[in-house]
Symmetry: C3
Subunit: 330 residues, 3 copies
Amino acid sequence: LQITVKELAAKLEARFEGDGGFIIRGIGALDQVSSDQVIYASGRKNFLRAVEGGCGVIITRKAFKETGKALILTDDPRGGYIFCLGFFAEKPVFQAGSSAAVVDPEAEVASDAVILPGAVVDRGVVIGSGVVIYPGVYIGRDVKIGAETVIHANCVIGYNTEIGSRVLIHGGVVIGADGFGFFEDSEGRQQKIPQIGNICIKDDVEIGANCTIDRATAGSTVVGEGTKIDNLVQIAHNVKIGKNNIIVAQTGIGGSVVIGDNCVIGGQVGIADHCVIGDRVFIGSQSGIQPKVLDSGTSHFGSPSRPLSEMKRIIAATHKLPGFMEKFQD
Amino acid sequence: LQITVKELAAKLEARFEGDGGFIIRGIGALDQVSSDQVIYASGRKNFLRAVEGGCGVIITRKAFKETGKALILTDDPRGGYIFCLGFFAEKPVFQAGSSAAVVDPEAEVASDAVILPGAVVDRGVVIGSGVVIYPGVYIGRDVKIGAETVIHANCVIGYNTEIGSRVLIHGGVVIGADGFGFFEDSEGRQQKIPQIGNICIKDDVEIGANCTIDRATAGSTVVGEGTKIDNLVQIAHNVKIGKNNIIVAQTGIGGSVVIGDNCVIGGQVGIADHCVIGDRVFIGSQSGIQPKVLDSGTSHFGSPSRPLSEMKRIIAATHKLPGFMEKFQD
Amino acid sequence: LQITVKELAAKLEARFEGDGGFIIRGIGALDQVSSDQVIYASGRKNFLRAVEGGCGVIITRKAFKETGKALILTDDPRGGYIFCLGFFAEKPVFQAGSSAAVVDPEAEVASDAVILPGAVVDRGVVIGSGVVIYPGVYIGRDVKIGAETVIHANCVIGYNTEIGSRVLIHGGVVIGADGFGFFEDSEGRQQKIPQIGNICIKDDVEIGANCTIDRATAGSTVVGEGTKIDNLVQIAHNVKIGKNNIIVAQTGIGGSVVIGDNCVIGGQVGIADHCVIGDRVFIGSQSGIQPKVLDSGTSHFGSPSRPLSEMKRIIAATHKLPGFMEKFQD
């Protein structure tokens, strides 16, 4: 794959300076770039780092310095860079079919779907057009998978799960383990509460590697359209997550939690059972949300959490506390 | 599957009101119920939500309102609901055998055990009666698995592991990775301490999806009878966990920790190496337990943790700290 | 496997007392030892526990008490114990080849490499001498794996990953899921930023079970030589980790973080995107490191973190805060 500076500028509807015939053969990162690669600079500092790093071409707002390098000039350098990432992305090509997989005769698989070696598809499963199932994936009985969804290697999709279209599930994800529900009997033993619900993953969801999403006790655990989930996130039974949320790695969401739309939830956050979280809520990393309602548009931080601005004042105060106490102990 | 109101009331040894012939075809959740489903209400508020949600039948202590719906009246509505969950649970039926799995000729597999396609069973393994091994599971050499145990897809059970009867292991669990033990040599390199012990999982344990339980350096890592472990929990080498504990998701238990019986350990808790925890200990979510003894019957919270009631006072005080300091800065 | 006291003492260049012909048949742990096993004692207390536990032989600095047991006397009892762990470790023996695996004809596999049943090796993969790939592993296209590396069951190694020699990867690890990168479009939907970089795992790295290491947006995510990573650790896109670091379980390292050499990072730590961490840095468990530079040789603790000694004073002060405030409310 390659593209000239002139061609790339045209694609981005941008101007260019320097050698329009310069051939770009790949994408660099600020700390790792070679002389045939393009990079973007969001400002002067990164522009200078890019030049120093020896890149071939810089997508930038302007020339922060004379460099002799070809430049692509645009008001949205990051957007230009994202375009380039897409341009240079290798699109794996598969032959449709499932010749080295184990597919139950009662499963219904679209003729252009790809089921790679070692995958196991149970009875009653319906797999839509253009779906790719990587090796080692197990699809339990009666699972429905929408068009263009990709499930990476060694995922487990439990029975009755419903997955929408264009969903991207990374390796090792387990969807459909039992919800964690027990009651203590009179002899102090934990007795299992049967978990007979399912999981609905809506269109355009992305789920990171080794996440776990439990089936509902009854009803459904739901992940809404366009929500993006990072690696190693835990989603408990009967959780309802809305649309277009960002949930960063290693966060845990307790049973029956309700989350609205367009929230940003940081990494390693814990949300206790039955919390109700509105739209556009921001939760800082490592926060612990205890049973309560978080109103739409609010920000929260800390364990246990408080509104973000209040928690910042609390933290600043605790940092001054040793000195403050000393003064009073005189 | 279906049951009438009258039949269900009889099973629960409960009274009913309304149409005893009404046919129940499933279980609802408070936020997701249809007109042929049963639901339970723990009190007035949930009773009204259930009615509003359009359920068919309510299991309840009493009619909190005239509804025209069939009611099942019992002092233990939740118990009735749990009975219904069991009644409506689909029990997967498998054909015994292992025709599409890879089973070493030196493994000993009960004739009624089920080993599903793509599972790999190594030499010296002993698999008891009624065991179900899902696709993609790897059972290492000399592993012993007791009767009626179920191991879900893509688990890894390392060599020499001993698993009891009626154990339920969800997908993606890794039992038997090496304990995390190294020493720094004179050149600053980390040298591995061989990890040659094993893991014993006792009867009636449940282990959540993508958990990791490491083998002991020497001796055994032990999870005691009836202990229930949620998803993504880490249990390090040489840990000894007693009976009937509840360990919530994403908790990490450090090397050589000892835990008694009937404890409740919240989510995302960290327990440092060598802690000793008694019976009936409660640890709040996200707590960090540092090396020490926690006496039986005590409760703990915070990172680093303190006794629960003390930590609540500390947290309340820190929340008032900014205002407190301001007063003194006048 | 067995060794006499006299033979073991010779191997350790140590003295022995008691029956030199006593046959040692295994290794015990302090809480689990039998009469034909050896154990080590780091001091008087453990020596007495070892004697009480009924071990056969003790490796110790000196006889803290008359016991009648054979003793091996050395200035480094732990070193002697580690030698014994290596001596008694079972070394699995495999037949080279890949007869029950699915190996693409365009993959290049060393003749003495072992690819166990159910593994899938994609096109363009290069597998070095002595490599062992356990069942259920998926190796994506164009992955390179150096000599003597071992990849345990059900790992996923994404396309273009480069893995060095003598690397040990435990079960369920996912290397090469997409980095977590999105931008919000004008309609509030999250759009994916293509992730087209790769991952480089250098020589002698160990990676714990169910870890996740994401591919770079562009360039490489790097784990340096000799670094040891515990279970369930998350490493985001474009992270650069140096040599000989210890990273304890359930820690999460955010995008583009740079870590030097010989650091010790505790369990459940979170490191925010773009942090830069020097050499020989210590980070206490459950700490939250926010964007900033941590200088070489420093120690840090808390969420959000402060230098360790300062945080200890802050914590001590907050513990005294309720009493302190009460005094002033009189």
